[in-house]
Assembly symmetry: C2
Homo-oligomer: 589 residues x 2
């Protein structure tokens, strides 16, 4: 079995378009190193061109994606980037999605959109060609450019506006069948990340957001620069995105309930100020948080324990409408800084968070300028039919919703993929049906499965680098091996290096060859930025020992190999590294 050499020929460093430099370019390390290494160039806000090394990585990841999608019976198709608005109107998303969906008119004045996801296109393609139950289940996928008009592009390829994505859509005749397939897709995703050299990617429960549907998972690479908060229980393995994590708050009841009592608090407005003034810790306070619905600016007022934060995703999902923190509450007829749950008169929607359940003797606003109440005990002071809803964020050290221990940890993570059980959200809206076994017309049940290729590349770099450059896993590295020929003006170096290059090429090893007449320091710092996992140094010094020097980009080995048989030794090392990656890939389901 030759080492795979699927994409692009072997190359010499001097021929690669792109320049490498030393100066720190950005704070986020993957962006810094990939810019310094000549991997990409910005064309516009959140829009990049990719140089050859990145494109080679992308081609390899795409090959892995194709193999794993085909292995779970996926059929590769291609949807358009530009779609008529009518298609998105048929699902209702043309109106429900915000400005991140880029809308424009074509030359004939027709409304069009740029695809940011392709559920509608998948249903359109499958509609009328899957009209009977025998055609199910099936899965179609594509690898295609998407555009999402992000307001805040950041981190190089981490969050861009235009990106290449693998998106897959499965269609089923029963929830059980979807769930069975979802498990296979979940496993395929684990295999994809492991094959790409990041087996440390974990799946977490997630919020389904604008996609519709109930069950969904995100695949996360934990890193400080991640945009998501991940809640993890080391005790039982529970993992969830903060957005989707149930928050459990324990309140130890005081033995004696105090009566409600109005106290003068003057200028003290924030719950911190009031707590300090009255010598109460934050957990013995009840705070009011005010939002407005985006659609009509109507007010939503939430009471929660003073040390808790509102989880806006939960709030949005509960209200089924987009919201924003209230800009001013002057029109709301509320006493800002003194809003309280007792004796409140307001037109706002009033909600109570579960963190108040079982709490006693809290400080809260008195609905009167310069006054608060003490002794607020929700179970006593609120109407008996008051509903308490989970609207706040889980906290580090908090109670695990799965095992019940006070074990939660919160980490940062980058989302590198997601899978959703969509249900009938799209097939119902768009009227896609099939005839079931007993002759009923039914809507198919869908799942969808996405991976952004560019973000995965940047995330791998974020997870696998040192101060000098990326350390690409051998399965996705632009080149498996770099030959550094020092003192190329020396005929014996030239001859040995040329021969090794040609022998490795014949063996199907992917080689980058640096035969420039530059200093060792210059050559090695470039090599660090290219990040080939295996390096062979050939110099008058190594030749005087009858050897080449073989080393790993990650410093895991460094040894001499005899000139005779060097190609075989390098090839064996490449194969060993490939096998080490493959050893961490779980079996297919």
């Amino acid at each position: 079995m030759p080492c795979k050499n699927t994409f692009g020929g072997n190359m010499k460093v001097k021929n690669i378009l792109g320049e490498r430099f030393k100066e720190r370019a950005y704070d986020i390390e993957s962006q810094n190193l990939m810019t310094r290494g000549g991997y990409m160039k910005q064309v516009g806000n959140g829009i990049y061109s990719l140089f050859t090394p990145t494109k080679r990585i992308q081609n390899k990841i795409e090959a892995i994606l194709r193999e794993e999608m085909d292995a779970i019976d996926g059929q590769e198709v291609l949807f358009p980037v530009v779609m008529p608005a009518t298609l998105w109107q048929s699902s209702g998303r043309f109106d429900s999605i915000g400005k991140e969906l880029l809308r424009f008119k074509d030359r004939s004045g027709a409304d069009m959109v740029l695809g940011m996801t392709h559920e509608e296109a998948a249903v359109q393609l499958a509609m009328n060609v899957a009209g009977t139950y025998q055609k199910y289940p099936f899965m179609i996928y594509q690898i295609q450019t998407k555009f999402r008009d992000e307001p805040r592009a950041r981190g190089g390829l981490i969050r861009v506006r235009e990106f290449t994505m693998k998106d897959a859509y499965s269609f089923h005749t029963s929830q059980e069948d979807l769930e069975k397939y979802y498990e296979r897709a979940y496993r395929a995703y684990e295999r994809i990340y492991a094959r790409a050299g990041v087996p440390e990617v974990i799946a977490v429960k997630s919020d389904s957001g604008m996609m519709g549907g109930k069950v969904s998972h995100e695949f996360m690479l934990l890193t400080e620069i991640g945009e998501d908060s991940i809640v993890i229980c080391p005790e039982c393995g529970f993992r969830a995105n903060m957005e989707a994590c149930e928050a459990i708050t324990e309140n130890a009841a005081d033995e004696a309930l105090e009566p409600l009592c109005e106290v003068f608090t003057g200028e003290a407005k924030t719950i911190d100020e009031v707590g300090t003034m009255l010598n109460k810790p934050a957990e013995k306070t009840c705070k009011a948080v005010v939002y407005q619905r985006n659609a009509d600016d109507s007010y939503v007022l939430i009471f929660c324990r003073g040390d808790r934060e509102i989880n806006e995703t939960k709030l949005t999902n509960y209200l089924r409408s987009e919201i924003h923190p209230a800009l001013d509450i002057e029109n709301a007829n509320l006493a800002a800084g003194n809003i309280g749950p007792v004796g409140l008169e307001t037109k706002a929607t009033v909600l109570f968070d579960r963190s108040l359940v079982g709490a006693t003797n809290l400080v809260c606003g008195a609905n009167r300028e310069e006054y608060h109440l003490t002794g607020f005990t929700p179970s006593r002071d609120l109407p008996g039919n008051t509903e308490f809803i989970d609207l706040t964020k889980a906290v580090a050290g908090g109670v695990c919703p799965s095992c019940g221990k006070h074990s939660l940890k919160v980490s940062r993570g980058i989302e590198v993929g997601n899978i959703f059980q969509l249900g009938k959200r799209y097939t119902e809206a768009m009227g896609m049906t099939y005839d079931s076994e007993n002759g009923e017309r039914k809507n198919p049940i869908m799942g969808c499965y996405g991976i952004g290729v560019g973000r995965l590349i940047a995330s791998v770099c974020e997870a696998h680098h040192d101060d000098y450059g990326p350390i690409w896993p051998i399965t996705i590295a632009p080149w498996q091996v770099e030959i550094c020929a020092l003192r190329i003006d020396d005929a014996s170096v030239r001859e040995a290096a040329d021969r090794l290059y040609s022998e490795l090429e014949k063996a199907g090893v992917e080689v980058l060859y640096d035969d420039r007449a530059v200093s060792a320091g210059f050559m090695f710092s470039d090599a660090d930025l290219f990040g080939a996992p295996v390096r062979v140094v050939i110099s008058p010094k190594t030749l005087s020992r009858g050897c080449f020097e073989l080393s790993a980009r990650d410093k895991s080995f460094r040894c001499d190999i005899p000139v005779e048989g060097a190609a075989e030794a390098v090839e064996a090392k490449v194969r060993e590294l490939i096998e080490a990656v493959n050893a961490k890939v779980p079996e297919r389901m």
Copy 2:
């Protein structure tokens, strides 16, 4: 060497998403057959989704493109689909290109365009990283989605608005180096078409149009449904697009020159009517054709021989402005139907075509309602400094500009690729420079090289089909072999077909397996639409002979093969067909 099996797993017909049907769907045969065969589905005007068979063909063509581009030292990169308008302003094309360049605003109000070609992006990527002559030459290419807002999408994938394209850009320090590279690219293109199974594609000289630059070629597949007229000389091999073909008109001078004479022609207006009235053939007339410049509607008046047609491309290039046939000439102060070259008073730009050189005794308008002139002899009746320009179309049977024989033929063709010597058009406009060997700052010289993947697929279908479906060349067929198992309810058929499927899969042959319980007629008409070049029929009848039936989709062979060793026989046939394609591929340069 196993038969290549690069993309997608082997499949069963029953699992393929897409339906096939018999009813004629469109007049253009490739569109008709690819629609009837479940290859694509329209999403909007000129916008298609591709089903799996087409995507498999596309993947194979892309692999050929990558190999051939890499072989001429191409570096694969990726440019964005969405680009800031500023990039296109820097070349001047944001303003000079018409509505086919789709322009819109992003969420921040910034002007953006959808890429219809990527010269600007290529220069932007190479700028600042190729600052010295040692970095040259280099070539970068991508395979990416493009959008061109065509007013008249037609023919399925022949002319669409969104399409996948391979576009390549080379950079050089001298015209000689560009020309040398251009030859290599030309050869690579010949190889690409031959490898894709259409070695009959020919290169023709073409007009460079909006791309700038001088020398360019189009690669054409000759077919009746083509949109281009191709002028071919069978005597010497001269080939040109009609748009770019020099027109040579021979005029036999009459012995006696007649005097100019005004004659009453009444209602006769067109040159045909006047010729008939005065008993003159069209070649003894001089007609006037009126255009207007798009920019300001100013008039352009061309005189040419009555039997010639204006070549609008030549006219546009000569004027350096876009033009359209005059809508009305009321404001032009011209006597419509009686316009003539003698005694003409007009503000219009007046041009004379070369077809008038040497002509004598022509009929032409008299610039007076209801009158024409006879005896018009341009060499006598026009000022001595009159310039005669080549502004008309070459004609079938006309004089070959290369060998001078009256040998020209005119055929229709589809353009399936093009190559351009761009020169410094973009590097000058965008200010890309390098330091030459003797220290001067210079602009690099560019070439560019494009192939539309979807159009190539449709063109192959157009060139290789019968009434029943496409006949895909084995090198790009979605599947190399289809197994048709008739009477799958027969256990011996099932067993034999399953075994062959699994053996061929192990051998790396790409197999489509039809194991549906349907009639032979139904199965074969589907198989004709799938177009796999090799077919194996397994039925109780063939088994009773101890055989399978092996046949070609193009009917070039049909024979029995013994059940024992059938997989090897099929594999050998596949290899034979691949080698037959490869035999027509020219050597690399």
